[in-house]
Amino acid sequence: MSLLYNSDIHLGSSLSVIEILAVVILKFKRDEPYEDKDWLILSKGHAAPALYAILAEKGVISIDELWKIQDISSILQGHPEVFIPGVDMSTGSLGQGLSFGVGIAKGIKMSQGDGRVYVIMGDGEQDEGQVWEAATHAVSMELNNLISIIDVNGYQLDGTTEEIKPKHYLPKVWEDIGWNVLYCDGHDISSISYAISSSINSRKPTIIFAKTVRGKGLPSIENTKKQRVISNDAEE
Protein backbone atom coordinates (compact mmCIF):
# COMPACT_ATOMS: atom_id res chain seq x y z
CA MET A 1 0.00 0.00 0.00
CA SER A 2 2.91 2.33 0.66
CA LEU A 3 3.51 2.24 -3.07
CA LEU A 4 0.30 4.15 -3.63
CA TYR A 5 1.39 7.24 -1.79
CA ASN A 6 5.16 7.03 -1.72
CA SER A 7 6.02 6.36 -5.33
CA ASP A 8 5.95 8.79 -8.19
CA ILE A 9 3.87 6.54 -10.41
CA HIS A 10 1.02 7.40 -12.76
CA LEU A 11 -1.60 5.69 -10.70
CA GLY A 12 -4.66 7.22 -12.36
CA SER A 13 -3.60 6.19 -15.88
CA SER A 14 -2.54 2.75 -14.69
CA LEU A 15 -5.92 2.08 -13.15
CA SER A 16 -7.79 3.20 -16.25
CA VAL A 17 -5.93 0.80 -18.54
CA ILE A 18 -5.44 -2.25 -16.35
CA GLU A 19 -8.42 -4.30 -17.52
CA ILE A 20 -7.48 -3.63 -21.15
CA LEU A 21 -3.97 -4.94 -20.48
CA ALA A 22 -5.35 -7.91 -18.57
CA VAL A 23 -7.59 -8.95 -21.45
CA VAL A 24 -4.95 -8.47 -24.15
CA ILE A 25 -2.09 -10.13 -22.27
CA LEU A 26 -3.90 -12.88 -20.38
CA LYS A 27 -6.59 -13.76 -22.91
CA PHE A 28 -5.52 -12.89 -26.45
CA LYS A 29 -1.75 -12.52 -26.71
CA ARG A 30 -0.04 -15.60 -28.16
CA ASP A 31 3.64 -16.01 -27.33
CA GLU A 32 4.50 -19.07 -29.41
CA PRO A 33 5.74 -19.99 -31.90
CA TYR A 34 8.06 -16.97 -32.03
CA GLU A 35 7.49 -16.29 -35.75
CA ASP A 36 3.73 -16.12 -35.19
CA LYS A 37 3.76 -14.45 -31.79
CA ASP A 38 1.61 -11.45 -30.99
CA TRP A 39 3.15 -8.17 -29.86
CA LEU A 40 1.97 -5.75 -27.22
CA ILE A 41 3.12 -2.15 -27.27
CA LEU A 42 2.16 0.05 -24.35
CA SER A 43 2.57 3.34 -26.18
CA LYS A 44 1.24 5.20 -23.13
CA GLY A 45 4.30 3.97 -21.27
CA HIS A 46 3.47 5.91 -18.11
CA ALA A 47 0.99 3.15 -17.30
CA ALA A 48 3.96 0.82 -16.75
CA PRO A 49 2.80 -0.19 -13.23
CA ALA A 50 -0.35 -1.73 -14.75
CA LEU A 51 1.71 -3.56 -17.36
CA TYR A 52 4.06 -4.92 -14.71
CA ALA A 53 1.14 -6.02 -12.54
CA ILE A 54 -0.37 -8.03 -15.40
CA LEU A 55 3.02 -9.50 -16.35
CA ALA A 56 3.38 -10.58 -12.69
CA GLU A 57 -0.10 -12.10 -12.84
CA LYS A 58 1.05 -14.01 -15.91
CA GLY A 59 4.14 -15.20 -14.02
CA VAL A 60 6.67 -13.47 -16.26
CA ILE A 61 8.01 -11.28 -13.45
CA SER A 62 7.80 -11.87 -9.71
CA ILE A 63 5.09 -10.28 -7.59
CA ASP A 64 7.72 -9.28 -5.01
CA GLU A 65 9.46 -7.24 -7.70
CA LEU A 66 6.34 -5.09 -8.15
CA TRP A 67 6.90 -3.40 -4.81
CA LYS A 68 10.37 -2.34 -5.91
CA ILE A 69 9.21 -0.39 -8.99
CA GLN A 70 11.50 2.59 -9.71
CA ASP A 71 13.95 1.46 -7.03
CA ILE A 72 17.57 1.61 -8.16
CA SER A 73 17.95 -2.10 -7.40
CA SER A 74 14.88 -3.10 -9.41
CA ILE A 75 14.58 -4.15 -13.02
CA LEU A 76 11.20 -2.35 -13.14
CA GLN A 77 11.81 1.09 -14.61
CA GLY A 78 9.44 4.04 -14.46
CA HIS A 79 8.59 3.37 -18.09
CA PRO A 80 8.76 0.04 -19.99
CA GLU A 81 12.14 -1.15 -21.25
CA VAL A 82 12.74 -4.18 -23.45
CA PHE A 83 15.16 -5.67 -20.92
CA ILE A 84 12.17 -6.31 -18.64
CA PRO A 85 10.75 -9.79 -19.31
CA GLY A 86 7.50 -9.63 -21.28
CA VAL A 87 8.04 -6.07 -22.60
CA ASP A 88 8.05 -5.80 -26.42
CA MET A 89 8.95 -2.13 -26.83
CA SER A 90 10.77 0.48 -24.76
CA THR A 91 8.31 3.35 -24.50
CA GLY A 92 7.76 6.46 -22.42
CA SER A 93 7.79 9.14 -25.08
CA LEU A 94 4.24 9.48 -26.36
CA GLY A 95 3.26 9.04 -30.00
CA GLN A 96 5.86 6.48 -31.03
CA GLY A 97 4.17 3.15 -30.29
CA LEU A 98 1.83 3.12 -33.27
CA SER A 99 4.65 3.74 -35.78
CA PHE A 100 6.67 0.93 -34.22
CA GLY A 101 3.57 -1.30 -34.33
CA VAL A 102 3.07 -0.48 -38.02
CA GLY A 103 6.66 -1.58 -38.66
CA ILE A 104 6.18 -4.86 -36.79
CA ALA A 105 2.82 -5.55 -38.45
CA LYS A 106 4.37 -5.00 -41.89
CA GLY A 107 7.41 -7.13 -40.98
CA ILE A 108 5.08 -9.97 -39.95
CA LYS A 109 3.12 -9.71 -43.20
CA MET A 110 6.29 -9.74 -45.28
CA SER A 111 7.33 -12.98 -43.56
CA GLN A 112 3.83 -14.45 -44.00
CA GLY A 113 3.53 -14.65 -40.21
CA ASP A 114 0.28 -14.93 -38.34
CA GLY A 115 1.05 -12.56 -35.45
CA ARG A 116 -1.10 -9.63 -34.42
CA VAL A 117 0.14 -6.35 -33.02
CA TYR A 118 -1.68 -4.63 -30.16
CA VAL A 119 -0.85 -0.97 -29.56
CA ILE A 120 -2.33 0.71 -26.51
CA MET A 121 -2.44 4.50 -26.62
CA GLY A 122 -3.86 7.21 -24.40
CA ASP A 123 -6.53 9.68 -25.46
CA GLY A 124 -4.23 12.60 -24.60
CA GLU A 125 -1.59 10.92 -26.76
CA GLN A 126 -3.77 11.63 -29.79
CA ASP A 127 -2.36 15.17 -29.65
CA GLU A 128 0.94 13.82 -31.01
CA GLY A 129 1.32 14.44 -34.75
CA GLN A 130 3.25 11.21 -35.24
CA VAL A 131 0.13 9.19 -34.38
CA TRP A 132 -1.41 10.51 -37.58
CA GLU A 133 1.70 9.86 -39.65
CA ALA A 134 1.40 6.23 -38.56
CA ALA A 135 -2.38 6.01 -38.85
CA THR A 136 -2.45 6.94 -42.53
CA HIS A 137 0.49 4.68 -43.37
CA ALA A 138 -1.15 1.65 -41.70
CA VAL A 139 -4.19 2.08 -43.92
CA SER A 140 -2.15 2.44 -47.09
CA MET A 141 -0.49 -0.92 -46.32
CA GLU A 142 -3.78 -2.62 -45.32
CA LEU A 143 -2.39 -3.83 -41.99
CA ASN A 144 -5.39 -5.74 -40.66
CA ASN A 145 -3.11 -7.50 -38.16
CA LEU A 146 -2.80 -4.21 -36.28
CA ILE A 147 -5.20 -3.54 -33.40
CA SER A 148 -4.91 -0.31 -31.50
CA ILE A 149 -6.82 0.44 -28.32
CA ILE A 150 -7.27 3.96 -26.99
CA ASP A 151 -7.72 4.24 -23.23
CA VAL A 152 -10.28 7.04 -23.21
CA ASN A 153 -9.99 8.19 -19.58
CA GLY A 154 -10.69 11.82 -20.44
CA TYR A 155 -7.58 13.29 -18.84
CA GLN A 156 -4.11 14.36 -19.78
CA LEU A 157 -1.43 15.92 -17.61
CA ASP A 158 -2.75 19.45 -17.34
CA GLY A 159 -6.48 18.82 -17.37
CA THR A 160 -9.31 17.10 -19.19
CA THR A 161 -8.77 16.06 -22.78
CA GLU A 162 -11.67 18.25 -23.90
CA GLU A 163 -10.35 21.42 -22.29
CA ILE A 164 -6.77 20.97 -23.53
CA LYS A 165 -7.69 20.13 -27.11
CA PRO A 166 -11.13 18.72 -28.04
CA LYS A 167 -11.16 14.99 -28.79
CA HIS A 168 -14.81 14.25 -29.51
CA TYR A 169 -14.13 14.21 -33.26
CA LEU A 170 -11.51 11.47 -33.03
CA PRO A 171 -13.64 8.39 -33.90
CA LYS A 172 -14.85 10.08 -37.08
CA VAL A 173 -11.32 11.03 -38.08
CA TRP A 174 -10.04 7.47 -37.59
CA GLU A 175 -12.99 6.15 -39.57
CA ASP A 176 -12.48 8.65 -42.38
CA ILE A 177 -8.81 7.72 -42.61
CA GLY A 178 -9.90 4.14 -43.20
CA TRP A 179 -9.69 2.33 -39.88
CA ASN A 180 -12.22 -0.14 -38.55
CA VAL A 181 -13.55 1.77 -35.51
CA LEU A 182 -15.00 -0.13 -32.54
CA TYR A 183 -16.04 0.84 -29.02
CA CYS A 184 -16.05 -0.90 -25.66
CA ASP A 185 -16.31 -0.37 -21.92
CA GLY A 186 -12.65 -0.41 -20.89
CA HIS A 187 -13.42 -1.79 -17.44
CA ASP A 188 -15.68 -4.60 -18.61
CA ILE A 189 -13.74 -7.76 -19.46
CA SER A 190 -16.43 -9.16 -21.74
CA SER A 191 -16.92 -5.85 -23.55
CA ILE A 192 -13.17 -5.52 -24.23
CA SER A 193 -12.98 -9.19 -25.29
CA TYR A 194 -15.92 -8.81 -27.65
CA ALA A 195 -14.38 -5.77 -29.35
CA ILE A 196 -11.03 -7.49 -29.83
CA SER A 197 -12.69 -10.67 -31.13
CA SER A 198 -14.72 -8.56 -33.57
CA SER A 199 -11.53 -6.99 -34.92
CA ILE A 200 -9.87 -10.23 -35.89
CA ASN A 201 -11.56 -10.71 -39.25
CA SER A 202 -11.41 -7.05 -40.25
CA ARG A 203 -9.82 -6.23 -43.58
CA LYS A 204 -8.65 -2.91 -42.17
CA PRO A 205 -6.51 -2.00 -39.16
CA THR A 206 -8.75 -1.69 -36.10
CA ILE A 207 -8.97 1.02 -33.48
CA ILE A 208 -10.99 0.40 -30.32
CA PHE A 209 -12.17 3.35 -28.23
CA ALA A 210 -12.27 1.95 -24.71
CA LYS A 211 -14.17 4.26 -22.35
CA THR A 212 -12.49 4.23 -18.97
CA VAL A 213 -12.35 6.07 -15.67
CA ARG A 214 -9.08 7.56 -14.55
CA GLY A 215 -8.05 6.20 -11.14
CA LYS A 216 -10.81 3.58 -11.27
CA GLY A 217 -11.24 1.85 -7.91
CA LEU A 218 -9.63 4.51 -5.74
CA PRO A 219 -12.39 7.03 -4.89
CA SER A 220 -9.96 9.72 -3.71
CA ILE A 221 -8.42 10.05 -7.17
CA GLU A 222 -11.15 8.62 -9.40
CA ASN A 223 -12.00 10.88 -12.33
CA THR A 224 -9.54 13.57 -11.26
CA LYS A 225 -6.12 14.75 -12.37
CA LYS A 226 -4.65 13.41 -9.12
CA GLN A 227 -1.92 10.81 -9.52
CA ARG A 228 -1.24 9.92 -5.91
CA VAL A 229 -3.22 8.71 -2.96
CA ILE A 230 -2.41 10.81 0.08
CA SER A 231 -1.73 8.92 3.28
CA ASN A 232 -5.12 9.77 4.84
CA ASP A 233 -6.78 7.85 2.04
CA ALA A 234 -4.56 4.81 2.49
CA GLU A 235 -7.42 2.64 3.67
CA GLU A 236 -8.62 2.58 0.11
Binding site: E81, V82, D88, M89, S90, G92, S93, G95, Q96, S99, F100, G101, V102, G103, I104, A105, K106, G107, I108, M110, S111, G113, G129, Q130, E133, A134, T136, H137
Partner: protein, 316 residues
Protein backbone atom coordinates in the same frame (compact mmCIF):
# COMPACT_ATOMS: atom_id res chain seq x y z
CA UNK B 1 34.51 19.38 -60.45
CA UNK B 2 30.89 19.73 -59.38
CA UNK B 3 29.48 17.97 -62.43
CA UNK B 4 32.46 15.68 -63.09
CA UNK B 5 31.42 12.52 -64.85
CA UNK B 6 34.58 10.63 -63.99
CA UNK B 7 33.44 10.08 -60.41
CA UNK B 8 29.82 9.62 -59.56
CA UNK B 9 28.34 11.32 -56.52
CA UNK B 10 28.13 9.56 -53.18
CA UNK B 11 24.33 9.42 -53.30
CA UNK B 12 24.43 7.95 -56.81
CA UNK B 13 26.94 5.36 -55.66
CA UNK B 14 24.83 4.62 -52.59
CA UNK B 15 21.72 4.05 -54.72
CA UNK B 16 23.54 1.70 -57.13
CA UNK B 17 25.43 -0.18 -54.43
CA UNK B 18 22.46 -0.72 -52.13
CA UNK B 19 20.50 -2.13 -55.09
CA UNK B 20 23.35 -4.53 -55.77
CA UNK B 21 23.48 -5.58 -52.10
CA UNK B 22 19.75 -6.28 -52.19
CA UNK B 23 20.50 -9.52 -54.06
CA UNK B 24 22.77 -10.77 -51.31
CA UNK B 25 20.78 -9.54 -48.30
CA UNK B 26 17.26 -10.86 -48.72
CA UNK B 27 16.09 -9.13 -45.53
CA UNK B 28 17.40 -5.74 -46.69
CA UNK B 29 14.65 -3.11 -46.99
CA UNK B 30 14.96 0.54 -47.99
CA UNK B 31 12.69 3.04 -46.29
CA UNK B 32 12.34 6.72 -47.07
CA UNK B 33 10.12 9.73 -46.44
CA UNK B 34 9.28 10.88 -49.97
CA UNK B 35 12.86 11.63 -50.99
CA UNK B 36 13.67 8.42 -52.85
CA UNK B 37 14.54 10.32 -56.02
CA UNK B 38 16.83 12.69 -54.16
CA UNK B 39 18.61 10.05 -52.08
CA UNK B 40 18.79 7.70 -55.11
CA UNK B 41 17.06 4.99 -53.10
CA UNK B 42 14.85 4.89 -56.17
CA UNK B 43 17.27 2.44 -57.81
CA UNK B 44 16.48 -0.06 -55.08
CA UNK B 45 12.76 0.51 -55.66
CA UNK B 46 13.14 -0.25 -59.37
CA UNK B 47 14.77 -3.57 -58.56
CA UNK B 48 12.90 -4.56 -55.39
CA UNK B 49 9.54 -2.75 -55.38
CA UNK B 50 8.18 -4.92 -52.57
CA UNK B 51 11.13 -4.19 -50.33
CA UNK B 52 10.99 -0.42 -50.70
CA UNK B 53 8.74 1.83 -48.62
CA UNK B 54 7.91 5.49 -49.01
CA UNK B 55 6.14 6.42 -45.76
CA UNK B 56 5.23 9.88 -47.02
CA UNK B 57 6.60 13.13 -45.65
CA UNK B 58 6.79 11.88 -42.07
CA UNK B 59 10.30 11.53 -40.70
CA UNK B 60 9.31 10.71 -37.13
CA UNK B 61 7.14 7.83 -38.29
CA UNK B 62 9.90 6.81 -40.71
CA UNK B 63 12.32 6.11 -37.88
CA UNK B 64 9.91 4.18 -35.65
CA UNK B 65 8.48 2.26 -38.62
CA UNK B 66 12.04 1.14 -39.47
CA UNK B 67 12.56 0.24 -35.81
CA UNK B 68 9.51 -2.02 -35.94
CA UNK B 69 10.74 -3.68 -39.13
CA UNK B 70 14.15 -4.31 -37.52
CA UNK B 71 12.44 -5.92 -34.54
CA UNK B 72 11.00 -8.57 -36.84
CA UNK B 73 14.46 -9.46 -38.19
CA UNK B 74 14.49 -7.22 -41.26
CA UNK B 75 17.47 -5.04 -42.12
CA UNK B 76 16.02 -1.58 -42.79
CA UNK B 77 18.15 1.11 -44.40
CA UNK B 78 16.53 4.48 -43.76
CA UNK B 79 17.36 7.21 -46.25
CA UNK B 80 16.63 10.89 -46.03
CA UNK B 81 18.17 14.35 -45.99
CA UNK B 82 20.52 14.59 -43.00
CA UNK B 83 18.83 17.78 -41.83
CA UNK B 84 15.29 16.42 -41.85
CA UNK B 85 16.25 13.15 -40.19
CA UNK B 86 17.30 15.28 -37.24
CA UNK B 87 13.62 16.09 -36.83
CA UNK B 88 13.37 12.51 -35.58
CA UNK B 89 16.34 12.73 -33.20
CA UNK B 90 14.13 11.81 -30.30
CA UNK B 91 12.78 8.74 -32.13
CA UNK B 92 16.36 7.73 -32.96
CA UNK B 93 17.29 8.12 -29.31
CA UNK B 94 14.25 6.70 -27.57
CA UNK B 95 13.45 3.79 -29.86
CA UNK B 96 16.42 2.83 -32.05
CA UNK B 97 19.26 3.47 -29.61
CA UNK B 98 17.48 2.55 -26.39
CA UNK B 99 16.50 -0.78 -27.95
CA UNK B 100 19.84 -1.10 -29.79
CA UNK B 101 18.08 -1.93 -33.05
CA UNK B 102 19.75 -2.92 -36.28
CA UNK B 103 18.72 0.14 -38.29
CA UNK B 104 21.11 1.82 -40.71
CA UNK B 105 20.43 5.51 -41.27
CA UNK B 106 21.86 6.81 -44.54
CA UNK B 107 21.78 10.60 -44.32
CA UNK B 108 22.31 12.31 -47.65
CA UNK B 109 22.66 16.03 -48.52
CA UNK B 110 24.86 16.54 -45.46
CA UNK B 111 27.05 19.54 -44.78
CA UNK B 112 26.72 22.29 -47.41
CA UNK B 113 25.97 19.79 -50.17
CA UNK B 114 22.42 21.07 -50.64
CA UNK B 115 24.05 24.32 -51.71
CA UNK B 116 21.13 25.78 -53.65
CA UNK B 117 18.47 25.27 -50.99
CA UNK B 118 20.32 27.19 -48.31
CA UNK B 119 20.53 26.90 -44.56
CA UNK B 120 17.16 25.19 -43.97
CA UNK B 121 18.40 22.14 -45.88
CA UNK B 122 22.06 22.12 -44.89
CA UNK B 123 23.15 19.87 -42.06
CA UNK B 124 26.05 21.16 -39.99
CA UNK B 125 24.94 19.85 -36.60
CA UNK B 126 24.01 16.20 -37.22
CA UNK B 127 27.29 14.59 -36.15
CA UNK B 128 27.10 16.38 -32.80
CA UNK B 129 23.52 15.20 -32.29
CA UNK B 130 24.37 11.60 -33.20
CA UNK B 131 27.62 11.45 -31.23
CA UNK B 132 25.90 11.86 -27.89
CA UNK B 133 23.62 8.89 -28.45
CA UNK B 134 24.70 5.72 -26.64
CA UNK B 135 25.17 2.73 -29.02
CA UNK B 136 25.11 4.89 -32.18
CA UNK B 137 28.07 4.52 -34.55
CA UNK B 138 28.90 7.26 -37.07
CA UNK B 139 30.47 6.71 -40.48
CA UNK B 140 31.47 9.50 -42.86
CA UNK B 141 32.88 8.07 -46.11
CA UNK B 142 35.49 10.21 -47.85
CA UNK B 143 34.32 9.62 -51.41
CA UNK B 144 32.23 7.43 -53.69
CA UNK B 145 34.85 4.68 -53.68
CA UNK B 146 34.67 4.55 -49.90
CA UNK B 147 30.87 4.37 -50.13
CA UNK B 148 31.28 1.26 -52.28
CA UNK B 149 33.73 -0.30 -49.84
CA UNK B 150 31.95 0.60 -46.63
CA UNK B 151 28.28 -0.11 -47.41
CA UNK B 152 28.62 -3.92 -47.34
CA UNK B 153 30.65 -3.61 -44.12
CA UNK B 154 28.06 -1.56 -42.27
CA UNK B 155 25.28 -3.94 -43.25
CA UNK B 156 27.20 -6.61 -41.33
CA UNK B 157 27.88 -4.38 -38.34
CA UNK B 158 25.17 -4.96 -35.72
CA UNK B 159 23.26 -2.09 -34.10
CA UNK B 160 22.39 1.45 -35.15
CA UNK B 161 24.64 3.31 -37.59
CA UNK B 162 24.47 6.88 -38.85
CA UNK B 163 26.03 6.99 -42.32
CA UNK B 164 26.63 10.51 -43.62
CA UNK B 165 27.06 11.34 -47.30
CA UNK B 166 26.72 14.37 -49.54
CA UNK B 167 24.74 15.16 -52.64
CA UNK B 168 26.91 15.67 -55.72
CA UNK B 169 30.42 16.94 -55.10
CA UNK B 170 32.66 13.93 -54.52
CA UNK B 171 36.31 14.42 -55.48
CA UNK B 172 38.40 11.24 -55.75
CA UNK B 173 40.15 11.05 -52.38
CA UNK B 174 40.87 7.41 -51.69
CA UNK B 175 41.50 6.24 -55.26
CA UNK B 176 44.77 4.36 -55.52
CA UNK B 177 45.42 4.80 -51.79
CA UNK B 178 42.90 2.69 -49.95
CA UNK B 179 41.32 -0.64 -50.64
CA UNK B 180 39.78 -1.63 -47.36
CA UNK B 181 37.33 -0.30 -44.82
CA UNK B 182 36.88 -1.31 -41.21
CA UNK B 183 34.50 0.31 -38.72
CA UNK B 184 36.52 2.14 -36.06
CA UNK B 185 39.76 2.17 -38.04
CA UNK B 186 41.26 5.39 -39.36
CA UNK B 187 43.29 5.20 -42.54
CA UNK B 188 46.41 7.10 -43.47
CA UNK B 189 46.07 8.94 -46.77
CA UNK B 190 49.55 10.44 -46.51
CA UNK B 191 52.21 9.97 -43.89
CA UNK B 192 54.07 12.88 -42.31
CA UNK B 193 56.14 13.90 -39.31
CA UNK B 194 55.62 17.62 -38.61
CA UNK B 195 51.88 17.99 -38.39
CA UNK B 196 48.75 15.80 -38.59
CA UNK B 197 45.62 16.79 -40.50
CA UNK B 198 42.57 14.73 -39.56
CA UNK B 199 39.43 14.99 -41.65
CA UNK B 200 36.27 13.15 -42.63
CA UNK B 201 34.34 13.31 -45.87
CA UNK B 202 35.00 15.48 -48.91
CA UNK B 203 37.11 18.02 -47.01
CA UNK B 204 39.92 15.47 -47.17
CA UNK B 205 40.40 16.63 -50.78
CA UNK B 206 41.55 19.97 -49.40
CA UNK B 207 43.56 18.24 -46.69
CA UNK B 208 45.55 16.31 -49.29
CA UNK B 209 45.98 19.43 -51.44
CA UNK B 210 47.28 21.39 -48.48
CA UNK B 211 49.64 18.58 -47.42
CA UNK B 212 51.17 18.58 -50.90
CA UNK B 213 51.61 22.35 -50.76
CA UNK B 214 53.16 22.11 -47.29
CA UNK B 215 55.55 19.48 -48.63
CA UNK B 216 56.88 22.11 -51.07
CA UNK B 217 57.53 24.30 -48.05
CA UNK B 218 59.51 21.45 -46.42
CA UNK B 219 56.74 20.72 -43.95
CA UNK B 220 55.80 17.08 -43.64
CA UNK B 221 52.06 16.73 -43.03
CA UNK B 222 50.23 13.48 -42.37
CA UNK B 223 46.62 13.19 -43.56
CA UNK B 224 44.27 10.87 -41.73
CA UNK B 225 40.86 9.78 -43.01
CA UNK B 226 38.72 9.47 -39.89
CA UNK B 227 35.80 7.82 -41.68
CA UNK B 228 34.51 6.36 -38.43
CA UNK B 229 33.79 9.27 -36.12
CA UNK B 230 32.32 7.00 -33.47
CA UNK B 231 33.82 4.81 -32.12
CA UNK B 232 36.85 6.97 -32.92
CA UNK B 233 40.25 5.44 -33.55
CA UNK B 234 41.99 6.58 -30.35
CA UNK B 235 45.18 4.69 -31.15
CA UNK B 236 45.70 6.45 -34.47
CA UNK B 237 45.07 9.87 -32.90
CA UNK B 238 47.44 9.23 -30.02
CA UNK B 239 50.19 7.79 -32.16
CA UNK B 240 50.10 10.72 -34.62
CA UNK B 241 49.88 13.27 -31.80
CA UNK B 242 53.07 11.73 -30.41
CA UNK B 243 54.70 11.53 -33.81
CA UNK B 244 53.92 15.05 -35.08
CA UNK B 245 53.12 17.06 -31.94
CA UNK B 246 50.46 19.17 -33.72
CA UNK B 247 46.97 18.31 -34.92
CA UNK B 248 44.51 20.06 -37.22
CA UNK B 249 40.96 18.83 -37.75
CA UNK B 250 38.85 19.77 -40.74
CA UNK B 251 35.18 19.03 -41.15
CA UNK B 252 32.07 20.09 -43.07
CA UNK B 253 30.16 20.49 -39.81
CA UNK B 254 30.00 22.90 -36.91
CA UNK B 255 33.23 22.93 -34.93
CA UNK B 256 31.21 22.24 -31.79
CA UNK B 257 30.49 18.59 -31.17
CA UNK B 258 31.80 17.17 -34.43
CA UNK B 259 35.06 15.59 -35.55
CA UNK B 260 37.21 18.33 -34.01
CA UNK B 261 35.58 17.86 -30.64
CA UNK B 262 35.86 14.08 -30.87
CA UNK B 263 39.58 14.26 -31.71
CA UNK B 264 40.26 16.85 -28.99
CA UNK B 265 38.60 14.62 -26.39
CA UNK B 266 41.14 11.93 -27.23
CA UNK B 267 44.08 14.35 -27.38
CA UNK B 268 43.43 15.82 -23.91
CA UNK B 269 43.13 12.34 -22.39
CA UNK B 270 45.98 10.57 -24.16
CA UNK B 271 48.63 13.04 -25.26
CA UNK B 272 47.90 16.80 -25.15
CA UNK B 273 49.34 18.74 -28.08
CA UNK B 274 48.34 22.07 -29.70
CA UNK B 275 45.33 21.76 -31.99
CA UNK B 276 43.36 23.82 -34.46
CA UNK B 277 39.84 23.04 -35.63
CA UNK B 278 38.53 24.07 -39.03
CA UNK B 279 34.81 23.84 -39.67
CA UNK B 280 31.55 25.77 -39.62
CA UNK B 281 30.70 28.34 -36.99
CA UNK B 282 27.23 29.36 -38.11
CA UNK B 283 24.35 28.41 -40.41
CA UNK B 284 25.14 28.26 -44.12
CA UNK B 285 23.54 30.07 -47.06
CA UNK B 286 22.67 29.48 -50.69
CA UNK B 287 25.32 29.33 -53.40
CA UNK B 288 25.70 27.98 -56.93
CA UNK B 289 28.01 25.20 -55.76
CA UNK B 290 29.11 23.39 -52.62
CA UNK B 291 32.69 24.24 -53.50
CA UNK B 292 31.87 27.93 -53.36
CA UNK B 293 30.41 27.51 -49.89
CA UNK B 294 33.44 25.61 -48.60
CA UNK B 295 35.66 28.45 -49.80
CA UNK B 296 33.26 31.15 -48.55
CA UNK B 297 33.30 29.65 -45.05
CA UNK B 298 37.04 29.01 -45.23
CA UNK B 299 36.85 25.25 -44.90
CA UNK B 300 39.56 24.72 -47.50
CA UNK B 301 43.22 24.12 -48.27
CA UNK B 302 44.20 27.73 -47.60
CA UNK B 303 42.81 27.58 -44.08
CA UNK B 304 44.57 24.29 -43.43
CA UNK B 305 47.90 25.72 -44.63
CA UNK B 306 47.47 28.86 -42.50
CA UNK B 307 46.53 26.80 -39.45
CA UNK B 308 49.56 24.57 -40.02
CA UNK B 309 51.92 27.53 -40.21
CA UNK B 310 50.42 29.02 -37.07
CA UNK B 311 50.82 25.76 -35.18
CA UNK B 312 54.40 25.35 -36.34
CA UNK B 313 55.26 28.77 -34.98
CA UNK B 314 53.95 27.67 -31.59
CA UNK B 315 56.49 26.60 -29.03
CA UNK B 316 55.49 24.34 -26.21
Amino acid sequence: MQKSKAFSSMRETFGRKISELGDEYKNLLVVTADVGESTKAIYFKEKFPNRYFNVGISEQHLIDFAAGLATTGKLPVVTGFAMFLMRAWEQIRNTICRMNLNVKIVATHSGYSDNNDGSSHQSLEDIALMRVLPRMKIIVPADSLEVKRSLPVILNEPGPIYYRIGRDYSPPITQGILNHFKVGEATILKDGSDITIIGAGIVLWDAIKSAKRLEQMNISAAVINMSTIKPIDEKAIESYARKTGRVITVEEHNVLGGLGSAVSEVIVKKYPVPMKMIGANDFGRSARSQRELLDYYKINDKSIINASLELLRLRY
